[in-house]
């Protein structure tokens, strides 16, 4: 067909029109995807990102809106901005030191919830008319208020229970992931943090006042790591979790090397044990033996799936827990690791997450701190959902561990909870370490209550304490008692 007559080719024209239509559809869909992404970004992704300290625009908001209040889930004001007669603004924290780390501060940069909720606190959802009026009067409009999941009563109970000992207490609701309390000591007073800044950050200050020990402190987990070891045992012996048998005479020696020896706490001997009993009495010998029988690579795989060596799924800054076992790890280190000594380090928050997953049938609800954003008039602008679910272990595994943790309270080291009106479950831990030539012990307790439908999961850590059972359990008891009495009302 000569070129000049091509216009007559009806078929070609129809085919080309079809192709044209197809291309148009393709790009239209591409653009709808793009637009959906932009809308998703602005609505869902951006609010969580914009509080970033690199975002200079937040300062612009400062000049437009009066920073909103942070309110606890039981309705107490945790932070608010007051304006005096001269128009000078001060951020006031009525509870002072009690909420220091988790609330953070907003004067020297922004930390804690002040940073997390920054975007919402600096926006205003008042009705446009009142903003309009405020603008007419050249007055700042009130920013939105943010309700957080923290419970002021529980927080203060935890603060009082911990007292003047360095350490941390964290509580959350396993079924939703709502963080109920987060205390760290020593702390600071956010009302005066700006004035005391030099002191707090001076190199002579070794107490780490600004450090949120609950999320950023790393400690050897001690016996609380036995939970992971028990889970590893279930994984390696599927269908036969009861097969473990060990006779404890107060110590365990690895056959070939006589210097590879692990003692039970204060040389106690526990006699014939299954895994549950060894767990309940926190028998080091049995777990050291278990450590020698465990495949290091599989243990590493399991711990990686439990957030070791990676960021915790929480919105506040946190430290990465470390668990450096690999296939080259020798027997001695495996024995040590099995009882949570060795080179393993965890944060209290991390232990709480594992406990909370056990309490919630193996499903971790990722911790959340924010409940809702409401306009200054009290209308809910944006509710936050419960934490995303993530399955960490099978329900049967969680059930077994739950029974183990129950036995800790009924038979073993968690005896501090034995006479409680509710059925608590938990695991104690006493991690020994050397500091400036002195042998010190970090006392742990991590657990939940009540056993059948847990409403609270708690982790207590006390630096330089006695054993977990003697130091951490009473603190946990006090806090959980308070919570249960609140629930009973």
């Amino acid at each position: 067909m000569p070129f000049g007559e091509e216009e007559k080719s009806e078929d070609w024209r129809k085919g080309a029109n079809r192709s044209i239509f197809f291309i148009t559809c393709f790009f239209s869909f591409l653009f709808f995807g793009l637009i959906a992404y932009i809308a998703w970004f602005i609505y869902f992704e951006a609010p969580g990102r914009m509080g970033n300290p690199y975002n200079a625009r937040m300062e612009v908001f400062d000049s437009r809106y009066l920073r909103g209040k942070i309110i606890s889930s039981d309705g107490e004001i945790l932070a608010e901005t007051e304006v005096d007669a001269n128009g000078k603004e001060t951020r006031v924290y009525p509870f002072g030191e009690a909420f220091a780390h988790v609330l953070g501060y907003s004067t020297r940069g922004k930390t804690g919830l002040e940073s997390l909720a920054n975007f919402y606190l600096m926006e205003s959802s008042s009705n446009p008319f009142s903003i309009f009026l405020d603008e007419l009067r050249e007055r700042k409009s009130q920013g939105d208020n943010v309700t957080c999941t923290l419970d002021s009563g529980l927080q203060i109970a935890a603060k009082n229970a911990l007292g003047e000992r360095a350490g941390a207490v964290v509580c959350m609701e396993p079924s939703t992931g709502r963080v109920l309390a987060m205390v760290s000591f020593p702390g600071f007073d956010p009302n005066t943090v700006s004035r005391e800044w030099e002191d707090l950050t001076s190199p002579d200050n070794h107490s780490g006042n600004l450090l949120n020990r609950a999320t950023q402190g790393l400690y050897p987990p001690g016996s609380t790591f036995k939970t992971v070891m028990a889970l590893e045992y279930f994984r390696e012996h599927p269908g036969n979790p009861e097969a473990f048998h060990f006779v404890c005479d107060g110590e365990y020696r690895e056959g070939s090397r006589q210097d590879y020896v692990v003692h039970c706490y204060s040389g106690e001997s526990h006699g014939e044990e299954d895994l549950g009993k060894a767990y309940a009495y926190s028998c080091n010998a049995a777990f050291a033996y278990l450590g020698t029988k465990t495949d290091p690579e599989k243990l590493r795989e399991l711990s990686d799936s439990l957030f070791f060596n990676e960021e915790l799924p929480i919105a506040l800054p946190s430290a990465k827990s470390s668990m450096p076992v690999s296939k080259d790890t020798g027997t001695w280190l495996m024995m040590q690791s099995a009882i949570g000594q060795g080179e393993i380090l965890v944060s209290p928050m991390h232990n709480l997450l594992i406990t909370s997953a056990i309490a919630n049938d193996g499903v971790l609800r990722e911790p959340v701190f924010l409940e809702k954003v409401s306009s200054p008039a009290g209308m809910t602008v944006k509710p936050f959902t419960a934490g995303r679910p993530r399955r960490l272990m099978r329900a049967e595994e969680a059930e077994l561990l739950k029974n183990f943790m129950r036995r800790v309270v009924t038979d073993g080291t968690g005896s501090g909870f034995r006479n409680a009106e509710y059925s608590a479950c938990g695991k104690t831990g006493s991690a020994e370490y050397m500091k400036r030539g002195e042998k010190k012990t970090d006392a742990w307790f991590t657990g939940f209550a009540p056993a059948d439908e847990p409403t609270i999961a708690i982790t207590v850590l006390v630096e330089d304490g006695d054993t977990g059972g003697r130091t951490a359990v009473p603190i946990a008891r006090e806090v959980v008692d308070y919570w249960m009495s609140r629930k009973a009302q």
Partner: protein, 542 residues
């Protein structure tokens, strides 16, 4: 008080942009008619009103007298440009003209807010580049069959790209522009157009696979030089527009699949070869991990968009200048930050509307060359928009392309004017319907053609006389057959005869077809026959 203006202005602008976007798609759907014309008028008013509001705010905020002068000049430009175009080419597409004004005015507003001196420069460029844009449709009609020039376009394109490779200046890792007397000149913006002409000339002549390989070779030469210049964004645009043209010319899905495969490997290869590609991909995957360094630009852009939210912060109340090269690659983020996410999304939609209009021009044309030219240009345009916006919002890795008519930059503006003028030339040649000429007093019978964008009405001139029409009307009234009803224009009741009627009566076909050269073919083949005798529509008539 200024704050109040800014807030009120912001909301009104969002409303206006929403209305504009709606009318844009409504116009595409209507395709002619009185409502279409009325909507175009309203669109034009919306642009002027928006311009007024924003300049009011700009003046109050900056109190720069010169900005008032610039505003005055802009008002003159935005009144004169569509008016002159419509005067010179009555069949030019009003929607595209309006959209050009819309993009230019938003771009100018944002530039004035970002950097006044650049805005002045930009306006001068707009004024200058408007002229070739206006002349182009006329020139194209005079030059005759442009597909004969295919080799010329090919050689000129390759030479221009090659000179950039030899002499060009490097910016942001890519060798993109030539400098003449202080003006930087982005050759690839213009070679894009010559490339499309060259391919549109070659592809319809390709009868065998060997011919197609030759075409691909010519395209590959363009693309490889661009890759050597490390201008991968342009290379991608050239490649994909070539694939689209090839697909339209051959209709074979095989080529699309092959191109997809090649793109995949080219992507991996360029990731391996070029460090600036790796940097951009890293910045795309997780910019938040390295805000200080690799992710700086994209996170600043995201901060701008996210902080602005759907409603925007209002002009002068954000910090768009924090984004590096905001006036070129990231103008979208600045618009989203200060004028609102809704405005930005509407901007995307208006761009999509332009693309649809261009594709419409492609499908209305009966000539292969014209069809392929329109497809090539349309795909290049929409890709450019997609790469810019997608890069700014982190939908895809950023590629360093500009937003046509909105971004700052002389070559980009001039080339965009040329592209839109070429599309206008197609509309002028093949007006989509005759409905717009309401004043023509004549019997007109319309043939409807099934078409991907709905039905297209084409006038079937030349073989009707009064009796035929009476027959038609009578018959459909009797039989209740609505088929023909749609085909006889409603003005039949006027019973007055126009110029064309008498021309037809006298048999003065040549005069009649003077301004309808495309219908001549139809006429010549069917002279003396009544169409329904042999190939009448569905055999319903006689």
């Amino acid at each position: 008080m200024v704050n109040l203006f800014i807030t009120t202005g912001k909301y009104i602008c969002i409303l206006l942009v929403l209305l504009y976007t709606y009318s844009n798609f409504r116009c595409i759907r209507l395709r002619g008619g009185e409502e279409h014309e009325a909507l175009l008028g309203w669109q034009y008013r919306i642009i002027l009103l928006m311009q007024f509001l924003c300049h009011f705010i700009i003046f109050f905020r900056t109190e720069n007298r010169a900005s008032l002068v610039l505003y005055g000049l802009q008002v003159i430009f935005f009144s004169a440009y569509p008016f002159l175009m419509k005067k010179a080419y009555p069949k030019a597409d009003g929607l595209l003209l309006n959209n050009i004004c819309f993009f230019l005015s938003i771009g100018m507003i944002m530039l004035e807010r970002l950097d006044y001196s650049k805005a002045v420069r930009q306006f001068a460029i707009i004024l200058i580049s408007m002229v070739p844009g206006m002349l182009l449709p006329f020139l194209m009609s005079r030059l005759g069959d442009l597909s004969r020039w295919r080799l010329f376009f090919c050689i000129v394109g390759i030479l221009m790209l090659f000179s950039v490779f030899l002499l060009g200046a490097v910016s942001y890792g890519a060798r993109m522009s030539l400098s003449f007397f202080g003006f930087s000149f982005h050759a690839s913006e213009f070679v894009k157009i010559s490339f499309v002409f060259c391919m549109a000339g070659m592809l319809p002549r390709a009868r065998t696979f060997k011919d197609i390989l030759l075409c691909s070779l010519a395209a590959a030469a363009h693309i490889l030089i661009l890759v050597m210049c490390r201008d991968l964004g342009s290379a991608l645009i050239f490649f994909l527009s070539f694939v689209a043209m090839l697909y339209v010319a051959t209709g074979q899905l095989f080529y699309l699949a092959a191109a997809g495969g090649m793109l995949f490997f080219a992507g991996i290869l360029s990731y391996r070869l070029f460090s600036h590609v790796r940097t951009r991909v890293f910045a795309w995957i997780d910019p938040w991990a390295d805000i200080d360094n690799k992710g700086y630009q994209i996170t600043q852009s995201l901060f701008a968009i996210g902080t602005g939210g759907f409603l925007g912060l209002g002009l002068f109340r954000g910090l768009p200048n924090k984004i590096p090269i905001v006036e070129k690659d990231f103008i979208f983020s600045a618009i989203s930050e200060e004028m609102g996410g809704i405005t930005a999304i509407c901007l995307c939609l208006v761009c999509l509307g332009c693309f649809m209009k261009m594709m419409q021009a492609a499908s209305f044309s009966d000539k292969r060359f014209e069809k392929i030219v329109a497809v090539g240009l349309a795909v290049q345009y929409i890709l450019q928009v997609f790469l810019t916006i997608g890069g700014a919002v982190k939908f895809i890795p950023s590629t360093g392309v500009t937003l046509p008519f909105v971004s700052y930059g002389g070559s980009s503006i001039t080339a965009s004017f040329l592209v839109f003028s070429i599309i206008q030339a197609l509309f002028i040649k093949n007006p989509e319907t005759g409905w717009a000429e309401d004043n023509e007093e004549d019997w007109e019978i319309w043939d409807e053609e099934e078409h991907p964008f709905g039905k297209r009405r084409r006038r079937m001139d030349g073989y009707w006389d009064e009796d035929d029409i009476d027959d038609l009307i009578e018959n459909w009234e009797e039989s209740g057959d609505v088929f023909w009803k749609n085909r006889v224009r409603k003005s039949y009741g006027k019973k007055s005869y126009g110029r064309n009627h008498f021309r037809r009566q006298r048999g003065e076909w040549d005069e009649y077809y003077e301004d309808r050269p495309d219908d001549r073919n139809d006429y010549n083949t069917r002279r003396g026959r009544v169409p329904w005798d042999d190939d009448g529509p569905r055999g319903r008539w006689r």
